[in-house]
Symmetry: C2
Subunit: 480 residues, 2 copies
Amino acid sequence: MMTAASGVVLILGLSTILCAGAAYEYQIKTIDVPIDHFTYTSEATFKLRYLINETFAQNTNDPNRPILFYAGNEGDIELFAKNTGFMWELAPKLKASLLFIEHRFYGQSLPFGNASFDSPKNLGYLTSEQALADFALVLRTLNPINGTNRARPVIAFGGSYGGMLAAWIRIKYPHLVAGAIAASAPIRQFQGVTQCGIFNQILTSVYQVAYNAECASNIRRSWTMLQNYSSTAEGLRVLNEKFKFCTNITKATDVTETFFDYLTDVYGNLAMINYPYESNFLAPVPAYPVREFCGRLDKNYTGAELLDHLQSALTIYTNYDGKATCLNINSSYDGSGIGDRGWDFQACTEMVMPMCSDGVHDMFPPQQWNMQTYSDKCFKKYGVHPHPANALLNYGGEFLEGSITNIVFSNGLLDPWSGGGVLRSTNDNIKIVLIPEGAHHIDLRASNPNDPASVTRARSVHVKNIQKWLDEYRKQQRVY
Amino acid sequence: MMTAASGVVLILGLSTILCAGAAYEYQIKTIDVPIDHFTYTSEATFKLRYLINETFAQNTNDPNRPILFYAGNEGDIELFAKNTGFMWELAPKLKASLLFIEHRFYGQSLPFGNASFDSPKNLGYLTSEQALADFALVLRTLNPINGTNRARPVIAFGGSYGGMLAAWIRIKYPHLVAGAIAASAPIRQFQGVTQCGIFNQILTSVYQVAYNAECASNIRRSWTMLQNYSSTAEGLRVLNEKFKFCTNITKATDVTETFFDYLTDVYGNLAMINYPYESNFLAPVPAYPVREFCGRLDKNYTGAELLDHLQSALTIYTNYDGKATCLNINSSYDGSGIGDRGWDFQACTEMVMPMCSDGVHDMFPPQQWNMQTYSDKCFKKYGVHPHPANALLNYGGEFLEGSITNIVFSNGLLDPWSGGGVLRSTNDNIKIVLIPEGAHHIDLRASNPNDPASVTRARSVHVKNIQKWLDEYRKQQRVY
């Protein structure tokens, strides 16, 4: 994974940064943080990992030289550092330090080592509040108040869940973070605020427009076709032969549950990483991977033909680099650095994002959202019940007027997560950036000749907002 | 205590409220809240107590009728409800509900019943963050978002630590609280921000001006005098006879540690409750109790004479109602409803407020602040070390520009806690109210004919700010 990700640097055309001698180069450090920031029941700590680059901030004595901080999300922090080229391009211009802090329970920041996923007694410490408190402690430690002078200004960045954290750290710790760029941050993808079907509707529209309308129709029909195959021993044999599953499937539910879930994830992932250039974030994929995928489902296929074309299309995601020898349907993030074990727990506790489909407005098998069923399943897996109201209770999000400031919410409208994002604001201090042609947090990626104009514009709006926050911060510099 | 506190109602002259049929009348309710809001290690809950009065909000359909919420501090919530007459006077004017939420580990809100003070495994859940999360959950539960309409506006109130919590809940949960009146809230009484000697300097000045300058001089000399008595068996016998300690003192340190600490607390308490009328908050005392106290230390006394006068002065605090049969020097809050057991733990964990004295700029025995000594003592008592930087890390307070809004910080300048309060603001949305003649959060008390003009003015500034926040909230009423 590391090698593959390093390769991305060149693919993404970061030659300017390479010239500056800092091609995603960073020091890897750790800091001891409390396992529990919110009680005094124990003094146990663990080593939280962060990446730091001081190259661009070295040659200035400006006490207000910024710190660009990435709020690590559900994966190895190196993955995010290497896929957030925007920060690397910005740092030399602002003479800024770069800081990427890993989220607890992901990457190498495991509070209980190998026992970290023992639930709920250890895994229960995996919460967004604890992660924000980790970030706060690292920020304060690396960026202390200097006598009667304020600390250096910190700008938070994050994409997806990291974008939620970037927005939330500005909301919860405004004294530590001067502003936040929250890219594709679905802070409203919660019960009672965003309808459960929106995600799959947007996702479907991406597949409808990527190549031609047959793509989504083929996918919509494929579920019954696959189910039919799953219902006989011969059908299962054919599926095993076609898809080359790493572990042979042996029963109908291997298809209608495991494989269906996998396919649903892959379709979502392909839409998220539907960038206009070759990339390797969740998996190595070509430019416009949804278009490539849909190009292989370009006619009204049925039966064995649909099966063949679906299998072929799928390899756009599963085997673009030709290295895969079999298909692991247990995770659509296999080898990417994304920590789906941890995320599954978070989705079962506070990050409960209701999803549903009806097969009419979307291309998925009809499936209602049932909180009770979901809750029971989570309890069975983890021994604790979801608290679906906690995120909105803790962070707000229903209404954003007045009380919070200095956040940009950006969303690509071709990103299924945009439905749970902040797309409107009546608060002058909360800025909205819409990227009609954008996929998942594309604006945080390194610039690329293939970027649509709306992405380039989004980045320049980000820069203007950041500059405004930094100017404000400078002006407010006062001894109290 | 309950009987005594009920008596206060009449003493404070709340006849108008009595006429309205709501003389501090409230329903006492409980709600199940998680013992730990910030992990998912357990699903244990406990019953948190709150007091509610709906009398004044009953006869209106205004969806924006306010909720006046008192952020309970370190004691029985009924004590604060009965000593926060300002809210009771305001409620009928604003057609508001009144809500007083008890702080966990105080009053009857004991998460582990009788075992609540087992440290650190149970007592460790006593933190300000958990308390704020309790408040947030109660607020959201009693004041839900109604479809696409916002909840009713909530105005937070609090005095002292409760004032800190009122400010902090507005900072941390701005979506739940429209504004906060933080009275005598020493949010800056922490390491590195406020000098450790300030509290005792202000305190001394109160004793210097209350009657005549001899008072503070006598107190300053009394420490050596008492130490001399403590050094002989005959001296100890005299002290026992004079002060009628509930438990006979038997050794020097009973005087130089236990009794000295007690006296220091009493002098602080007397200054805090130095109200211009008879009251019963921390103890039953006459109007201007410091003046009464100092009236008995009006000349340059020494030796046995100083002892006699000190003992007599002390009874202003210890036996004003003539009911005490002995002097309990283990707590200066005995029977008041204040939970000093819980507070001592908080002071040993995150509420570390450095105090020192030099005997020159103040009237106390010279005592340096030594974090290491303090820390060791705390660890010995509770098994955990203090985290003196946590409050500022979590809540900010060093600089208050720009990022936070809608808080009034009021401080009586005759209150020793004002030194750690917010006395200046360069942020238009943070208002400062100074009350030159005011003691500890006097502005939250019921109005009284003896109130100095500055107190009356402070309350009218509070009303104006509250009105402004409510107007803002009404205007922002939007469906998102």
